[in-house]
Symmetry: C2
Subunit: 337 residues, 2 copies
């Protein structure tokens, strides 16, 4: 049904349309790409492609424009991810290397990605769930209050102030700190609840109310932060682009953690490090936009996802290359720290 030349025509249409933003006609096509056939032949192929739903014409007498289905075929079979130039790579490397802490890594990553792709970049903070406890700290503020600080192996730090049910002096706090660390050090965050379940019972009875209070806050911290933080950058890149959906809707979605989360993709498929491309109407939450995303994280354990969001008409090969490269570099940085 679709011979090689028809596919070549489709590829040419996508490439031309992406770069010019104008419906592409048979004549221009036959000229610019050396298809070695006449415009009339191209027209026949275009008619077939339109019949199959890969392209469409905005008006009766205008050139053709790829449909979502057309982009899909292009991404799946007609293009290959375009690697970044050496200069770009070096730029990424030096830019990310300067980060001082996790916050900084994420902020730099999202800005970098936005600049590189000229789209809106979205980065999810590394998930707590797969991290492990590196240290639990209890800091006495006064005799009825302590601050709980939870440090994970990904460098993330969570803190909460705890109101204690009774006055507790510093040596007792130090003792509790030691007990907690002995219990939790290196423990996966997801295993914390079961790990601490029987902790009160193993302690002298007078410590139990205090420990119970601390543990309840600790568990609450884990749960609350389960809905992860997501940041974006490059909203200015939306200014030029035109979506089938209103600009307002896109901006609103960007500020909704939940929607953003879903746009990046439901939590890891079986191959989380693969590039996910969702095109236009394939995207249930914000139709008219495309999302290119991937998981990142050190080696086998994927920590979170990152990607970009843009109009359906985007340069997929380049965007995919940038997303993949940035994901790799940030994974590397995280693994090293």
């Amino acid at each position: 049904m679709l011979d090689d030349r028809k596919l070549a025509v489709l590829r040419a249409i996508v490439e031309d349309y992406v770069s010019t933003n104008e419906p592409v006609g048979s004549k221009a096509l036959a000229e610019r790409h050396n298809l070695k056939v006449s415009p009339a032949t191209v027209r026949n192929d275009m008619a077939a492609l339109e019949e199959e739903g890969y392209i469409t014409q905005p008006h009766t007498s205008a050139g053709r424009v790829p449909t979502d289905k057309g982009y899909r075929l292009f991404v799946d079979r007609l293009s290959q991810v375009k690697p970044l130039s050496g200069a770009e790579r070096r730029a990424i490397e030096t830019f990310l290397a300067g980060a001082v802490d996790l916050d900084d890594v994420v902020t730099r990553t999202v800005r970098l990605l936005a600049q590189l792709t000229r789209q809106v970049a979205v980065v999810q903070y590394p998930t707590l769930t797969r991290s492990t406890v590196r240290h639990v700290e209890l800091v006495p503020l006064n005799d009825r209050r302590v601050m709980l600080v939870l440090i994970t192996n990904t460098g993330r730090v969570e803190q909460r102030v705890i109101e204690l049910p009774e006055a507790v002096d510093d040596t007792r706090i130090a003792h509790l700190r030691a007990v907690l660390n002995a219990c939790l050090d290196g423990c996966g965050l997801i295993n914390v609840p079961e790990q601490v379940a029987d902790l009160p019972e193993r302690l002298p009875i007078e410590d139990r109310p205090v420990v119970a209070t601390i543990l309840s806050v600790l568990l609450e911290t884990l749960v609350e932060r389960h809905d992860e933080k997501i940041v974006f950058a490059g909203a200015a890149n939306l200014a030029g682009a035109d979506f089938s959906v209103g600009l307002r809707d896109v901006l609103e979605a960007l500020e909704e953690q939940v929607v953003l989360m879903r746009l990046l993709g439901e939590t890891s498929t079986d191959t989380p490090s693969a590039l996910t491309v969702r095109i236009g109407s394939e995207n249930p939450y914000l139709r008219g936009t495309s999302v290119v995303a991937t998981g990142y994280g050190s080696g086998d354990n994927q920590l979170a996802r990152l990607g970009v969001l843009g109009p359906t008409r985007m340069d997929y090969p380049v965007t995919m290359g940038a997303v993949r490269a940035v994901a790799r570099y940030v994974s590397q940085i995280l693994a090293a720290s």
Copy 2:
């Protein structure tokens, strides 16, 4: 030069134009507001106001529109801050009360303000400079690395991983922690450098390299975070509005910490808790937009600033009311924690 009626006309023009977004003509003015004079009289007044530069007409034969100077006069002399309704106040209170930590307070505040004003809200994180050290924590990660955690009285937490010049065991770390806290507890962040200046000299010689390393990171943390973090929300509200400057420029400015900082206003004037209103061209960094901002913080010491950014054509009394109210509530919350 400007008698009472002319001022009344100006006020009416501003109010009408803000609510309708259409140049307002003499006839409509004389009707809607009961000025008890004929359109012709109004026209004379308008001519005078235009002569003085308070209003202007977009086209030879269209109604009048306030100039920046006109809005300025309106804000200064013709309007008063509109307090929020009881319902709105309660909403603010309950919404902010649910915050669990500083991050959460700031995030909630900025969203609240955006929703309340239907503009872009901007909130600066509380300044470190005026905070004091509540606790310094050293967490051993392995024998060559420790994590430095700095906790301030505003609940802010900074952390850095430190590579030590030599192996240090846990008891020595504990000792150093005690020394540091004894030295710094309650100390204003701005005084930290002088406070620790002679610390190495007061310690045994073998501790000095390690302490020097730690202190250098500590001081670096203070300096780096001196350029404060700023967040914004409500970018979607820009979608409808029209600026004399491009939407793209506004979005770019919002993502530039430095520009945003300057928009909020140079650090506190002599009366930091007063509302600052900068209208259109008065604003050197992003002409064509207006900024309503104020300082916030507990009582006498202002911690940071917050405000909103919008088109010159905005409802100043309402916006000012919202900004002031939110600043007060968030100050209250911060003082309590």
